[in-house]
């Protein structure tokens, strides 16, 4: 008999060991913490690549008993499918690149890396969990390192931002927890088996067709609120710009590229899969707030003067696009929403790295103070332009496919409800997106060379930063030219995903 290697557990344990190891590398050894962290994150990333070559993802399915007492059943269950796999890949690669990018971190580097690796454990756990209790624990686990990341390594208003981030998203998670309890207890009641509450995905999924409509609508609301705050969507988004502005570059990248995806991941994984009738009832509202997020975020970007805040708002706009795809409740919508999640993860990695470089290398991120950077920092400018173009949806880069597919699915939906004009909002947002990016580029990279910053200290990207950016840009181009690479994986998950109730 072939011995199965518990790959998913290894994926989770490796960064955990790394986090512990770097935690104890104080004092003299702090300088080498980045090598240790890089090694652990690198091996994790390489192992996650293995999943790409798996014929059948259900092969990787691990379940260990955990808590089975007093009528409660919680297990340490891990598994991947087309949706999880992309997110796991995105997480592990992003974390590795962030460590590479932050090689120059001087302030307590060991703790910095501990926090990043701890976040990786939480994120991978969320994406691989097959048990709601594990899911929730991992979800909360991401919160704590991020809090310390912001409040230890952040900017001048870091304490405000960190507390706002923590409380805001924590309140949302608690609402989500109520929803999870409702699912678990109700599932156990329906399926029997002698449990008071059964937290496994399988049990809840099995009970799902028997959930009553009112129950579905209520629980959908609770869970959706919890996930939507994380995404975030308007009007529950205000923690995001503050958190991003204050967070260090590495934290911002992980926050935007991977952590926001937890929200949309949860909506697809829990809300849609388990509560289809609730989804149908909530659909108009979901669509409405998605459109609101898209247009609102895009308009808000135009008015920002902090480059990083602008990118943060653009995340809101683009995550609104993800929600729009989900809200269509069609195979195409979900498929391209997932693609958009993946695309946005790659692209914001570039964007936030570039913003971090602006602050670090040019001294300020205030757009009115900048100008003519293209002459001083050509490589930086090229990356910035690439990132902006990818984000505004230039065809041939990864961002285009997500937007194209989502808007097309939305068009299908508007035809079905006979309101084609709704599509105008999406098209308007595309235009606004180009508007703020191009305008920002005009004011930072081009024109008169600035005299408001210390020009003597302006320097271009370093080798490790350039390498990290280069890898992401290559991925953006690769998945842009060959979308099937990701679409094929997604379709193994999303094909036939939308159940009969929703059509």
């Amino acid at each position: 008999m072939e011995v199965q290697i518990p790959l998913l557990t290894i994926l989770l344990v490796l960064p955990f060991i790394g986090a512990i190891a770097t935690l104890f590398m104080g004092g003299e050894r702090a300088k080498s913490a980045k090598y240790v962290a890089g090694a652990f994150a690198g091996i994790t990333a390489l192992l996650s690549l293995l999943l790409f070559f798996a014929n059948d993802l259900s092969f990787y399915d691990e379940c260990y008993g955990w808590i089975d007492t007093a009528g409660l059943k919680m297990s340490f269950a891990l598994g991947v499918d087309g949706l999880s796999m992309l997110m796991v890949f995105l997480t592990s690669v992003t974390v590795f690149l962030v460590i590479l990018f932050s090689a120059a971190e001087k302030d307590r580097p060991n703790y910095f890396h501990t926090l990043i690796l701890a976040m990786e454990v939480g994120l991978l756990g969320v994406y691989m969990a097959q048990d709601y209790f594990l899911f929730y624990i991992m979800w909360e686990l991401t919160l704590v390192p991020m809090y310390f990341m912001i409040s230890w390594y952040g900017g001048p208003r870091r304490h405000y931002a960190a507390i706002k981030f923590f409380i805001y998203t924590h309140v949302a998670s608690l609402v989500m927890l109520i929803g999870i309890f409702a699912l678990a207890f109700n599932a156990a009641a329906i399926t029997g088996g002698g449990y008071l509450a059964d937290f496994s995905f399988a049990a809840v999924a099995a009970a799902s067709p028997l959930f009553g409509t009112t129950f579905q609508i209520l629980v959908f609301g609770l869970l959706f609120f919890g996930f939507a705050v994380k995404m975030p969507i308007v009007p529950f988004h205000t923690w995001l710009p503050d958190a991003h502005v204050e967070a260090p570059t590495g934290g911002s990248v992980i926050l935007a590229a991977v952590m926001l995806k937890m929200g949309s991941y949860g909506i697809i994984r829990v809300c849609l899969e388990v509560l289809p009738e609730g989804a149908v009832w909530w659909q108009p509202i979901v669509i409405l707030i998605a459109l609101l997020s898209i247009v609102y975020g895009a308009f808000a970007c135009i008015a920002q003067t902090d480059l990083k805040k602008m990118v943060a708002f653009s995340s809101i706009s683009h995550m609104g696009m993800v929600l729009l795809g989900i809200g269509c409740l069609s195979d195409a919508g979900v498929t391209f929403a997932i693609f958009q999640m993946f695309a946005h993860g790659l692209i914001t990695t570039v964007l936030f790295m570039v913003c971090g470089l602006t602050g670090h290398n040019a001294g300020t991120r205030e757009i009115p103070l900048l100008g003519g950077l293209a002459a001083k920092m050509p490589i930086y400018s090229a990356f910035m332009m690439f990132g902006f173009m990818a984000s505004l949806g230039l065809p041939g880069l990864v961002g285009f496919w997500g937007e194209f597919g989502v808007i097309f699915s939305f068009y299908e939906y508007t035809v079905s409800i006979d309101m084609i004009w709704l599509i105008i909002f999406c098209l308007l947002s595309l235009l606004l997106t180009s508007g703020y990016y191009i305008w920002a580029m005009q004011r930072t990279l081009f024109g008169k060379e600035t005299d408001k910053i210390d020009v003597a200290h302006v320097h271009d990207v370093s080798l490790s930063e350039g390498l990290a950016l280069g890898v992401v840009c290559a991925l953006i181009a690769l998945f842009g030219l060959w979308p099937d690479l990701a679409l094929g994986v997604i379709q193994t998950f999303s094909q036939g995903f939308i159940s009969g109730v929703m059509i």
Partner: protein
């Protein structure tokens, strides 16, 4: 045997882009020679492919050569579609790739001289123009709308990069840098507006046809299965993209500003790539456009209005490149007008099954295609000529030029050929195509709402007069009369790499229109036999038809006379100086003069619109975000903190009050419990 490799045509410049982009600094001329070689190979392959296609059986039976492979497939419960990449070669594509690659090749050669002072910026220049060419050629050979759209956007990106080539470290200082950056932004955003519309059109088409392949979309049976209102909506949206890319009214305003880039880039944008893409798309999607006649009417009106408005703006502009830019707008308007008028007639013909009308409509298509090609040659010539002048005198202001003819004989003569050609001087290339377009507009007179076409025709004829006038105003102001301030410092004739392309182009600019007498109308044309659309062979007209049509029509002579009149007036005003232009415009104070000089106040309008509507809304949203939404969040948190502050006052520290509360609370609980028991009726 070559046609199988037609995918190489866009790929080779793309390869050049990558190589130059990474290694350009280590190459001679910043990779310029590689770019030239790439364009040359593309041209060569284009020639071979075109030759093979035009001698193939496919051409003889009026079908395109199509080869494609699957890119990605999407299947779902609601519908599935397959995205292909491939090539779609027909006469139109052949013509486009021939002149695009050939003119680009000449422009690249010219660039070696023109950009010689740019130092290490050359790498960026040659990389970007290679990508630009790749975008255009890719667009031409694409086999479906999505593939086309990708190249379409790549061209948008390249135009942004190239118009903003000097958006930092401009040789003339910071103000020019800011200007270039602003022009690049405008070009990108205005064309993006069109692109977004085009994308909307693609959604409608994709939904209606479940495919974006040309072969599927142009199939009559598939078209018949789709609601014609949907097609009309899709085509209007697609035409929105054309309006943006080909700079038609009302999105024309980016093109004059785009002059901030190097002159070679202007030549590339105006002659070989970018703006031609819009016209090409209209011609490419002709089978869909002609399904609904009012769409074509709209197209024609937009074209006619653009032609007229743009020509008026050119009348009193002092910048040599801007005059040419306006003339491009005007000529593009002609092409769109030709397509619109021809399409309108054809649409009515298809509706009524009238072969004569279909054939008449096809003539408009032929005329527009011919004009597109002719325009490519003479506009490339004129821009490169103006570049040669600017290179020599260091200014773009025509008032500072004058009398350059003796310093720059080759430039002067070649530009004269170009000017005559664009002005419609008899038997030069512009004459043929412009006259055919006017003819096809006249063909629509007898159709429903023919009066619209009477107006459009009148506008077009007046435009022809204005074209002749402003082109010769430009030529005389530049090359004749007294030497201006800058002309005194003229370096003399430009180097051979620059004059050689001029001379080659002047031959084509003079003669390309004659192709109409050698089978052009029979090759690049479209027909409809009731069951399918026929591209190319067999459904056009022969040379005699066109000769007869042109020279037996009295209005042809009117147009010729008007063109000659325009040239003569320009001669009197700017060479002989017997006629003072100031007499007609109150020395630049009249309303009309200011209207034209301010481009009908379009730039102000757009600036105000984007500032008030765009930025204003953005500031409003930002206010709401900071004050109301975030205000609520912060308010909630401070109310929690404040509430805690207030409630904590209850902790007085006095033992008696605590004990009192405990006892009081117990008593209240006991009372409630007793009351409950009482009202519930005991246990």
């Amino acid at each position: 045997m070559f046609i199988e490799f037609s995918w190489l045509i866009p790929l080779i410049p793309l390869l050049c882009f990558v190589i130059i982009g990474f290694f350009g600094t280590k190459m001679h001329e910043g990779g310029g020679y590689l770019a030239i070689a790439g364009a040359a190979v593309s041209t060569l392959i284009a020639v071979l492919v075109s030759y093979e296609y035009w001698t193939s059986a496919a051409f003889a039976s009026g079908v395109p050569y199509v080869a494609s492979m699957e890119w990605f497939a999407f299947t779902s419960t609601t519908g599935s579609f397959v995205m292909n990449v491939g090539v779609y070669i027909d006469s139109l594509a052949c013509m486009m790739m021939l002149f695009s690659s050939f003119i680009s090749l000449l422009i690249f050669i010219y660039s070696v001289g023109y950009m010689s002072h740019e130092g290490n910026k050359k790498r960026r220049y040659y990389a970007e123009v290679s990508l630009f060419l790749s975008g255009m050629l890719g667009l031409v050979v694409s086999s479906n709308f999505l593939e086309m759209f990708i190249f379409w956007e790549i061209m948008g990106l390249c135009s942004y990069l190239l118009i903003g080539f000097w958006s930092f470290k401009h040789p003339e200082g910071d103000a020019a840098s800011i200007n270039a950056a602003s022009a690049a932004k405008k070009a990108f955003l205005v064309t993006r507006l069109g692109d977004v519309s085009l994308m909307g059109g693609l959604f409608v088409l994709l939904y209606a046809f479940q495919s974006l392949d040309y072969t599927v979309l142009f199939d009559v049976n598939n078209i018949a299965a789709v609601d014609s209102n949907m097609i009309a909506l899709a085509m209007l949206l697609v035409f929105g993209g054309v309006i943006g890319k080909s700079a038609q009214f009302p999105l024309h305003d980016w093109l004059p500003d785009a002059m901030a880039g190097p002159t070679t880039v202007s030549a590339l944008i105006h002659a070989a790539t970018m703006v031609k893409a819009g016209v090409y798309l209209t011609a490419r999607a002709f089978p869909l456009f002609v399904q609904v006649e009012y769409v074509m009417l709209f197209v024609a009106v937009i074209g006619g209005v653009t032609a007229f408005i743009a020509a008026t703006m050119a009348l009193n502009n002092m910048n040599i490149k801007k005059v040419l830019a306006f003339s491009t707008l005007s000529q593009l308007g002609y092409m769109i007008l030709g397509l619109g008028a021809g399409g309108y007639v054809m649409a009515i013909g298809i509706k009524h099954g009238d072969p004569a009308l279909i054939a008449a409509g096809a003539a408009g298509y032929v005329a527009a295609c011919l004009h597109m090609m002719n325009h490519a040659f003479f506009k490339a010539l004129l821009f490169l000529g103006s570049g040669s002048v600017i290179h020599a005198v260091g200014t773009e202001d025509m008032r500072q030029m004058g009398g350059l003819a003796k310093h720059m004989p080759i430039t002067s003569k070649t530009m004269l050929i170009g000017s005559l050609s664009i002005a419609g001087f008899p038997l030069l290339s512009g004459f043929w195509s412009k006259d055919l377009i006017l003819e096809s507009v006249m063909d629509a007179f007898t159709e429903p709402v023919g009066w619209v076409f009477v107006i459009l025709w009148t506008l077009a004829v007046i435009t022809a007069l204005m074209t002749a006038f402003y082109m010769f105003r430009m030529w005389y102001m530049t090359f004749h009369g007294e030497e201006g301030h800058a002309a005194k410092h003229c370096h003399g004739e430009s180097p051979r790499t620059m004059t050689l392309p001029l001379m080659i182009l002047s031959v084509f600019a003079a003669a390309s229109g004659l192709l109409i007498l050698f089978g052009f109308g029979d090759t690049v044309c479209i027909g409809f036999d009731g069951t399918k659309f026929i591209v190319g062979n067999g459904h056009g007209h022969d040379a005699m038809y066109y000769l007869e049509h042109i020279f037996t029509n009295v209005y042809t002579y009117v147009t010729i006379l008007l063109a000659l009149l325009g040239i003569y007036v320009a001669y009197l005003m700017y060479n002989k100086k017997t006629l003072n232009p100031g007499r007609f415009n109150k020395e630049g104070q009249s309303f009309i003069y200011r209207l034209f000089a301010n481009r009908w106040w379009f730039p102000e309008f757009y600036d105000q619109l984007s500032l008030k509507l765009g930025y204003g809304t953005a500031c409003g949203v930002d206010f709401i975000d900071k004050q109301i939404i975030d205000g609520t969040v912060n308010g909630l948190s401070s109310s929690v903190v404040g509430g805690g502050e207030v409630l904590s006052r209850a902790q007085t520290g006095n033992l008696h009050s605590y004990a009192g509360v405990v006892v009081g609370g117990t008593i209240i609980l006991a009372v409630i419990a007793v009351a409950l028991f009482y009202f519930m009726g005991g246990i």
